[in-house]
């Protein structure tokens, strides 16, 4: 019982950035806890993916036609089987859609503890101490967990750059679990990003609105500012869930990841799920009447001015120049 198992996420062709962060974290933990860094990759064809996993000492490959497309049930079977077979001390899963499916499910199936929302992990003896962002990022919980255990890690917590090389890269091909023959769910189809007319992921400037905008009718204020700035309009999840802006403008965990030079967060509190989608932005300016909002922790500049006063004022200043 040793080592750190990383669940590798992919779209079947490319390894997801979160997985490199996990490999980087796994290397740090493995140095303290001992054992290998193992990467579990399950797909219909792992060929295109394996080459990217040089940070792992061993690459556990599971291939099966039943693993074409991401299916929570199938992936959980594979992960559970791998945990049972490899008996890692630590299992790392990204806190992504897949992480939401798999971390707690696999932990429950194997009887392991699970800690979610992790932004920091370190070994203390045979335990793992984790920091987790709770309550929308307003509080951080520090936990001590005996190993073996499963952790789901928030994107942006570890350096992705450290997760590309440094392992032995041994490939171990494992037989698919028998359960894949009796799946009770199926993938009917997928739609890629960019289905809509806009692509905010490439925008240099993003004006992003959150719940604080109050209603669909007020979006106009932000739209006018975005136009004056030459920016794209983004939104936090609640704004999209409320139908005030379309899905293609959503920034964050289940939306887009943006890397603009300027990110103007308007009425956004800064839940971890949102920060995940914009942590690589250049200049971040936040407008929120709640001075304690977590967004101010990641912003470069902030103000508690009422957005209804401030937005038109900025627009007015930009208009004559623009």
């Amino acid at each position: 019982m040793a080592g750190v198992l990383v669940y590798v996420e992919s779209d079947g062709e490319r390894v997801a950035p979160i997985s490199f962060e996990l490999l980087a974290a796994a290397r740090e933990l493995a140095q303290s806890l001992g054992g290998d860094v193992e990467a579990l990759v399950a797909a219909a064809d792992t060929g295109p993916l394996v080459g990217e996993l040089g940070a792992a000492d061993t690459i556990l490959e599971v291939t099966s036609p039943a693993l074409a497309g991401y299916l929570p049930e199938a992936q959980q079977l594979v992960l559970v089987e791998a945990i049972r077979a490899r008996k890692p001390a630590v299992v790392l899963v990204g806190y992504t859609s897949a992480g939401l499916d798999l971390a707690a499910g696999a932990a429950t199936a194997t009887g392991l503890p699970v800690v979610a929302y992790c932004t920091g992990l370190r070994a203390e003896g045979s335990d793992v101490v984790a920091d987790s962002q709770l309550y929308g990022g307003k509080l951080v919980a520090t936990t001590t967990t005996s190993t073996p255990a499963v952790f789901s890690v928030v994107a942006g917590s570890f350096a992705e750059a450290n997760g590309h090389a440094g392992g032995r890269g041994e490939r171990i091909v494992t037989a698919p679990p028998a359960g894949l023959a009796q799946l009770r769910s199926r993938v009917l189809g997928t739609t890629g990003a960019g289905g809509g007319a806009v692509d905010i992921t490439k925008a240099e400037r993003v004006v992003s609105v959150g719940r604080g905008i109050g209603g669909a009718d007020n979006i106009e204020l932000a739209e006018e500012l975005a136009t004056a700035m030459g920016a794209e309009l983004g939104a936090s999840r609640p704004v999209v869930d409320s139908g005030w802006l379309p899905k293609e403008r959503q920034v964050g965990k289940s939306g887009m990841t943006v890397k603009p030079k300027l990110y103007l967060a308007v009425g956004i509190s800064g839940a971890p799920e949102h920060l995940e989608g914009m942590h690589d932005a250049g200049l971040v300016i936040a407008i929120n009447t709640d001075g304690d909002a977590p967004i101010f922790k990641v912003a470069d500049y902030g103000t508690t001015c009422d957005l209804f006063d401030l937005l038109p004022a900025i627009t007015a200043l930009l208009k004559p120049a623009g």
Partner: protein, 421 residues
């Protein structure tokens, strides 16, 4: 229902309509002829709602139309609402339902007592029950339910304005004691930055007068009168019951509030729920005390005054605010041509406070914008108000009508405070 916006009518020289050449001086009446199955069920449904019966009394005399503030900026009046409903338009899903500000000017002139003050809340209640409520208004309802104020501000911040009042304010929830005056601050004086300015000016004035007074603090909740008028009677009743229970825990002689909507509900609605108080609007409370104030300076302003619908038309008080203005040294007072009984509405009543964007989509300008233009027309440099909705509404309208620098908006209490220091 086809609606023709006059500025969009083009009288083409040559036009073929449904295969027929109708070139020439055709007029706006030319539209496809339809056999109207007048669907009286629409009218029956509306007038069948308890409280909305009187919509069916309209005999199309049209007196309300010129009195209705909304018709000045759009195509809406009680007469039109009746007629549209009579020809089958569904009021429950029509924008008309949310345009009425319950200002009461139509009822003042209506020979048949078609009472929009009862019709609108009653019909809106049905629309709310059916989930057909504009999103921004729904948010105000949800906030009121969750936080006790329509803005969604935390209750614990309700008395934050006190810190910078520059005068002692007794917060009864922190240290109960009998007081002479219980001041019901209401939401906009509690939370809105400009409302807080007025609240602080009020606190300083009360201190100058040496009055024994206190506020409820975090325990106070919205009086909910506007939520009631906007169709959420259940919310109104629930919060009113909570307020009545809270008020019942403290000893005071009289209740004073700066909000005409709160004043209206304490005077006319709360007694029915078991909450009877000796209530005054703050202008009614202070007007008789103005002579005792040690004025420090004269204010060199030419001012005009906007009557709040819920203080004036709804409750008949036109004199108290004018008496206060008269006694503030130095002011030159000029009336707007629409004032007192005929005062124009700011657009904030009846839920309009939380429907500005919605209303904006169905009118050419906001009522507050039109009112600001009327104020500018008097030559006054300051628009004086005494309803917490109005400072923010009119200051915004001053900006949006391009009158920045021409017109200031002040609550009367702010002028009192200014003349005292």
């Amino acid at each position: 229902m086809p609606e023709v916006e006059p500025e969009r009518v083009h009288e083409d020289q040559r036009l073929v309509f449904e295969g027929m050449d109708i070139s020439g001086g055709w007029n706006r009446m030319f539209e496809q002829r339809v056999i109207w199955q007048h669907d009286i069920s629409a009218l029956d449904r509306v007038t069948g709602i308890p409280g909305a019966e009187s919509l069916g009394y309209c005999y199309q005399c049209g007196k309300c139309t010129p009195a209705c503030p909304v018709d000045h900026v759009g195509d809406y009046s009680p007469r039109k609402v009746f007629r549209r409903t009579q020809v089958g338009a569904d009021l429950l899903t029509s924008p008309d339902l949310w345009l009425c500000t319950t200002c009461g000017n139509c009822l003042r002139v209506c020979p048949k007592e078609v009472n929009m003050l009862q019709i609108m809340p009653a019909v809106r209640e049905r629309a709310v029950a059916a989930g057909q409520v504009p999103a921004e208004l729904q948010k105000a309802f949800e906030n009121t339910f969750q936080y006790g104020n329509p803005m969604g501000e935390p209750a614990r911040k309700r008395a934050d304005w006190v810190a910078e009042a520059g005068a002692p304010v007794t917060i009864l929830s922190r240290g109960p004691r009998p007081v002479d005056v219980l001041f019901f601050v209401e939401c906009y004086w509690s939370y809105h930055p400009r409302g807080r300015d007025a609240a602080r000016a009020f606190a300083r004035t009360m201190a100058t007068l040496g009055i024994d007074w206190g506020i409820l603090g975090a325990e106070e909740k919205c009086s909910c009168d506007s939520q009631r008028a906007a169709g959420e009677r259940g919310l109104f009743e629930m919060v009113a019951e909570q307020n009545i229970a809270t008020l019942g825990r403290y000893q005071f002689q009289r209740l004073v509030t700066p909000d005409p909507h709160a004043y209206n509900s304490f005077r006319n609605e709360y007694p029915r729920l078991g909450g009877a108080y000796d209530v005054s609007h703050y202008t009614q409370f202070l007007a008789p005390l103005m002579a005792q104030l040690p004025w420090q300076r004269e204010l060199p302003y030419r001012v005009t005054f906007h009557d709040p619908c819920y203080l004036g038309r709804h409750n008949g008080e036109y004199d108290a605010p004018r008496e206060m203005i008269r006694q503030i040294p130095g002011l030159e007072f000029v009336e707007m041509f629409r004032c007192k009984e005929n005062g124009y509405c700011c657009g904030g009543g009846g839920g309009g406070m939380w429907l500005d964007s919605f209303t904006g989509q169905h009118t050419q300008q906001r009522l507050s914008e039109r009112r600001v233009r009327e104020a500018v027309e008097t030559g006054a440099e300051m628009l004086v108000v005494c309803c917490p909705y109005e400072v923010s509404r009119f200051e915004d309208a001053v900006k949006s009508t391009g009158n920045q620098g021409k017109l200031l908006v002040r609550d009367i209490i702010e002028l009192v405070d200014e003349a005292l220091h």
